[in-house]
């Protein structure tokens, strides 16, 4: 077999992937946030109130910072809306709120919600901001470490 065939195969793969990532029409795409830091994170949650009330107060809360880096190069030059998506979680009753340094919009979400964090023209290959995530959840039945998953999507016009 010609040595050029495997090379051609690789080139074809790369071209195909590039074409697939480029928006052709209005659509929703998942955004790559894998460049965000920290790459590994654990939020330690403490009681919102060290002492409970007479009627039961079991809210756990914690804060964690994320240096967010969204790879939006594929939509550069386009207008779009970016959303933080908080899917249904294994942890019941979780509430997420975030503060930013201004590049993205602050907001809050409960599981199942999709909240707008950016609207406008994508002018740079990466969208970066510092998110301070305030997390609350019910602590009355919290058996050990639980994951909290969220991601970002873009609606491109």
């Amino acid at each position: 077999m010609s040595p050029w065939i495997p090379v051609a195969l690789i080139v074809a793969l790369l071209v195909a992937l590039a074409l697939a990532a480029a928006p052709a029409d209005a659509a929703t795409y998942r955004i790559d946030d894998s460049a965000s830091l920290p790459r590994e994170s654990t939020a330690l949650l403490g009681w919102r109130s060290a002492v409970p009330s007479r009627y039961g107060d079991d809210t756990l809360q914690g804060t964690i910072g994320v240096a967010l880096r969204l790879d939006v190069g594929a939509w550069r030059g386009n207008a779009g809306r970016i959303y933080l998506v908080l899917p249904e979680q294994t942890t019941a009753g979780v509430r997420l709120a975030w503060r930013t340094q201004g590049r993205l919009l602050p907001g809050q979400a409960t599981p199942g919600q999709r909240v707008l964090v950016f609207a406008g023209s994508i002018a740079t290959p990466y969208l970066e901001d510092r998110l301070e995530l305030d997390i609350e959840t019910g602590g009355g039945d919290f058996p050990g470490t639980q994951p909290l998953n969220f991601h970002f999507e873009i609606d491109v016009d």
Binding site: L17, D32, T42, L44
Partner: protein, 197 residues
């Protein structure tokens, strides 16, 4: 361009921070930790019981009972005891009770002297005998003046005894006819006293 568009972030779970237990026994106290927890608080209880003593002979309250003896003429001085009449229980008997919490009680009976008739006649108090229905509450032996003391034993520091005291006239002497004693006259009254050390 990464070979993979979506790359998950790895994660490391950290153990929960645990605090060593502190403060286990006081009047407010707390304990923290991961396992079983226990903390205590203490309260002292104090009950003060004052010392008291009560004595009853006859009717409770103010009235002083009268016990009378009517000797038949044919029996005067024949040594046949004559039963009394009167008293709160009748038939020359009275209720006697002692209640106290200060240990053993001493009972004593005091009279003013022989029972008189208003002239020269007199009957010694030794002629009036007292029988008790309760050996734990013996009656003092009546005498002209103060009787000997009688001990009423306490149990666990408490005396709580009741008896029926029944009076008789011994009738061993031939006495001049007349009415001896009366209602608080002619040395007719016996005063019983209960005391604690």
């Amino acid at each position: 361009m990464s070979k993979s568009l979506f790359k998950s972030l790895g994660h490391v779970a950290l153990a929960a921070v645990l605090a060593a237990p502190i403060g286990a026994n006081a009047e407010s106290s707390f304990q923290t930790g991961a396992g079983a927890l226990s903390t205590s608080a203490r309260v002292d209880f104090q009950i003060t019981i004052p010392r008291f003593l009560s004595l009853r002979v006859g009717t409770a309250g103010a009235p002083v009972d009268l016990v009378s003896f009517d000797v038949p003429a044919a029996n005067v001085g024949n040594a046949t005891p004559v039963a009394g009449t009167g008293g709160d229980l009748g038939a020359g008997s009275v209720t006697a009770s002692v209640l106290g919490n200060g240990g053993n009680v001493t009972l004593q009976a005091t009279t003013g002297g022989p029972i008189g008739n208003g002239s020269a006649g007199a009957i010694n108090w030794s002629q009036i005998t007292t029988a008790s229905s309760n050996p734990s509450l013996p009656a003092p032996v009546l005498a002209n003046g103060a009787s000997a003391g009688v001990a009423v034993a306490a149990a666990s520091g408490v005396v709580n005894q009741t008896a029926t005291w029944s009076y008789s006239y011994a009738n061993t002497d031939v006495i001049e006819s007349g009415t001896y004693g009366g209602v608080n006259t002619n040395n007719s009254r016996v005063t019983y006293t209960a005391s604690l050390p």
